[in-house]
Symmetry: C2
Subunit: 207 residues, 2 copies
């Protein structure tokens, strides 16, 4: 794995979003200056970010919108679809299951699991909620690479182990818990209360 | 404002979460080593983080759980409740309106706004969805400090301007857009598709 900083991946993702808008508008080329604006950075940074992955663009002509978008999708691993399961069919889990932004980027929700009998059997955006007790058995069929965890904090770590044993390699965690990822597994955490606390800190310390 | 790194605020928030668990269990003191484990860091880092805000703990006795939790709540601005409005009553907005984790930390949802007539008038967790056209008038009464934005990307920046003019000082943004914050306003963005792309990058570049 090429080790590039997370901040670089973040900018590449912003460039791609902007390039796809331009593709939709039929634009053929773009300068590094305009691309820099889209990612809130400088043209020197854009050139540095992209040169890491090879040579793009012609001096004076800028980058080809289509070719650069295609290359960025490959770099970001968006060239193929990913199979995603959601663990936890509560309010956040249900909202994510129906979130159009995932499918638009090639993340396909193929399974949803919950331990609450009242939720098992319900259908969310065409996917039926399965019993969490059947997780291992169903994952053998579904073979997801990615899991989204929207469960209470006290069961999150246990689920990381179960998912990892079943072959999941990436976990997007919404539980307010610090999770330990086994080797070869990437865990990203989104903690909404924590985001609000960072805001709260900023507001409390305003001059 | 004391400028401390976001990563420090993040650790303080994790320490606080852990201290509150210990308070619930009746524990009176804690060592910097155990606190370090809770935040996934070292005891030297814990002492450094806390010393920034004054002197805590006694050599050999550790920290008082209650006193340290109280001080961390003050530092994080959690000593007082914050009034929050949610802009956008779609699936994500509705899920957030009903998210218990916000209220538990003193973030009170006092208003929800949407421009869709089908959503205006509905009640989410005791709060009625108001017409976005009435935003300025209602914010005069509600006086929120914080807004959560769950609107389409193309209207997000315009709403930042309107909210800021109405006195909002912190914005938690869920729209997939890069927002420019006016002076004195803090914007935090949570981009779920981007989080998945960072996972996707890691999976695609696995050895």
């Amino acid at each position: 794995m090429k080790h590039i900083a997370e901040s670089t991946v973040r900018r590449l993702s912003l460039y791609l979003r902007f390039l796809e808008e331009l593709e939709g508008q039929g634009r053929e080329t773009i300068s590094s200056e305009v691309l820099a604006d889209s990612g809130g950075t400088t043209s020197a940074q854009v050139r540095k970010d992209l040169s890491f992955f090879g040579s793009f663009g012609k001096r004076g002509l800028g980058y080809s919108v289509t070719a650069l978008a295609k290359r960025l999708r490959e770099i970001l691993g968006l060239g193929q679809p990913w199979q995603v399961v959601i663990i936890g069919a509560g309010k956040i889990g249900a909202a994510l299951a129906q979130y159009r932004g995932f499918r638009a980027r090639g993340f396909h929700v193929v399974g949803i699991f919950d331990s609450d009998p009242a939720k098992v059997g319900r259908t969310l955006d065409g996917v039926t909620v399965s019993d969490l007790a059947q997780l291992e058995r169903e994952l053998k069929q579904l073979k997801p690479q990615i899991a989204v965890l929207t469960v209470p904090a006290d069961v999150a770590q246990e689920l990381v182990q179960r998912l990892t044993k079943a072959g999941v390699r990436g976990i997007l965690n919404f539980a307010p818990a610090t999770l330990h990822a086994p080797d070869g597994v990437t865990v990203r955490s989104v903690n909404m209360a924590l985001e609000l606390e960072i805001l709260s800190y900023a507001l409390a310390h305003e001059r």
